[in-house]
Amino acid sequence: MDKRISTLAAATAQIANGATVMIGGFGGSGAPIELIHALIDRFVTTGSPGNLTVINNNAGNGHVGIAAMIEQGMVARMICSFPRSADPVVFTERYLAGQIDLELVPQGTLAERIRAGGAGIPAFYTPTGFGTDLARGKPVAEFDGRSYVQERWLKADVALIKAEAGDHLGNLTYRMAARNFAPLMAMAAMRTIVQVSHVVAPGDIDPEAVITPGIFVDGIIHVPDPAQEEDLNRAGARYPEVAA
């Protein structure tokens, strides 16, 4: 078994029009910028994939990564907890113009819905959101005298995530707080593609240190020295680059 993929184009080739795509990251930490930009390259060249539903904590920052996907018109719907950022202009303009749908989900509920999707749990009850606008229309039940809101699992066609090291079998480690949603998304997608900063041989990751076991991973692509969204934004970057 060898889950290595040789090019970013091949890694993103199977994502179809209308797909639901989970994208790892919390703000820029853990954002798989190179995978996202490869998907944008495909869209710019072929017009596909469009009409995507994107699941991420945020809705992009500046003009790179998810913001650049939205700017290209690839995204029909965002499912996220916090569609604001230092530079949220791309999402904000499209949202206020009615050009992109938003499903706003409390952050812990978002995480648990993704976890449930990966764990085969179709629904669960949480105290979060009870009595608020975000629970409107959802079933409510009382347990031990306290009220809880029913929430449903989230699944995706594809997850695009970033990890620190991955072996040929897809076992992964992460780097600091870049982990965030990635282990959950890896479980919840039909197909999980991971950009890793280091590719290592099976056995090179201590089994005690594996965070995501390879069973949740379908493909790994080596992206050494990945770009950080925050650095790109501080440099005023845009993707695709605009010719001077």
Binding site: F26, L102, A111, T132, R175, L184
Partner: protein, 223 residues
């Protein structure tokens, strides 16, 4: 004499109530200041929703590592004992009742403990983050806030008019003028600035203030 406490002074006052060994989540923005005023000799462990427990202060400019940020997307540092975890574990800490204290900002707090702090209404882009999870998870949910809005309207009210973050969740409010507990659906005054009369404070508060035991002077150093 000061007319009211500064944000830093409100944060200082809230920090005095965080006990040794507490696990604490601070809301983004103004509440983050609370970490600066931990009393000497007491150790609190700070949690951030994006998967760090026991993080340290901001690094020097230029020394940021953007994989090491807090929920406000600001760079932080690691310290001996820092732990990383994924988002489901992070919110298990929150909802599972493992945090001792959450300190949050507010647009409005109602006398029954309802909190409104995520939306000012239907205009613009709504964003909620982890606020709705935090208010139903931490053992103690406290609010730090100016006593009134920028245009002088009460933020402590009979019933919130803005969209709720959580129902009956806040138990203590630290304001620029007073410390007020929420008990049995009432605001109970605990501390107020010495120069401010009860009547003057009541005029700035949108629901009845009750006195149940001693009301002490709210005394805060220049910080």
């Amino acid at each position: 004499m000061t007319d009211k406490l500064t944000n830093a002074q409100i944060a200082w006052r809230a920090a005095q109530d965080i006990h040794e060994g507490a696990y604490v989540n601070l809301g983004i923005g103004f509440p983050e200041m609370v970490a600066r005023f931990q009393p000497t000799g007491r150790q609190a462990i700070f949690h951030t929703e994006n998967g760090i427990l026991g993080f340290g202060e901001a690094p020097a400019a230029g020394a940021e590592d953007w994989d090491l940020i807090n929920a406000g997307k600001k760079a932080v540092t690691i310290r001996p004992g820092t732990a990383f975890f994924h988002h489901a574990d992070s919110f298990a800490m929150v909802r599972g009742g493992h945090l001792d204290v959450a300190i949050l900002g507010a647009y409005q707090v109602a006398q029954n403990g309802d909190l409104a702090n995520w939306s000012t209404g239907p205009k613009g882009v709504p964003a909620v983050g982890g606020a709705m999870d935090l208010v139903h998870g931490a053992k103690r949910v406290a609010v730090i806030t100016d006593h009134v809005t920028r245009d002088g309207k009460p933020k402590l009210v009979e019933a919130c008019t803005l969209p709720l973050t959580g129902v009956a969740c806040v138990t203590r409010v630290y304001t620029s003028l007073a410390v007020i507990d929420i008990e049995g659906g009432r605001f109970v005054l605990r501390e107020k600035l010495a120069a401010l009369s009860f009547e003057a404070l009541q005029l700035l508060t949108g629901a009845p203030l009750h006195v149940d035991g001693a009301v002490t002077d709210l005394t805060v150093p220049e910080v």
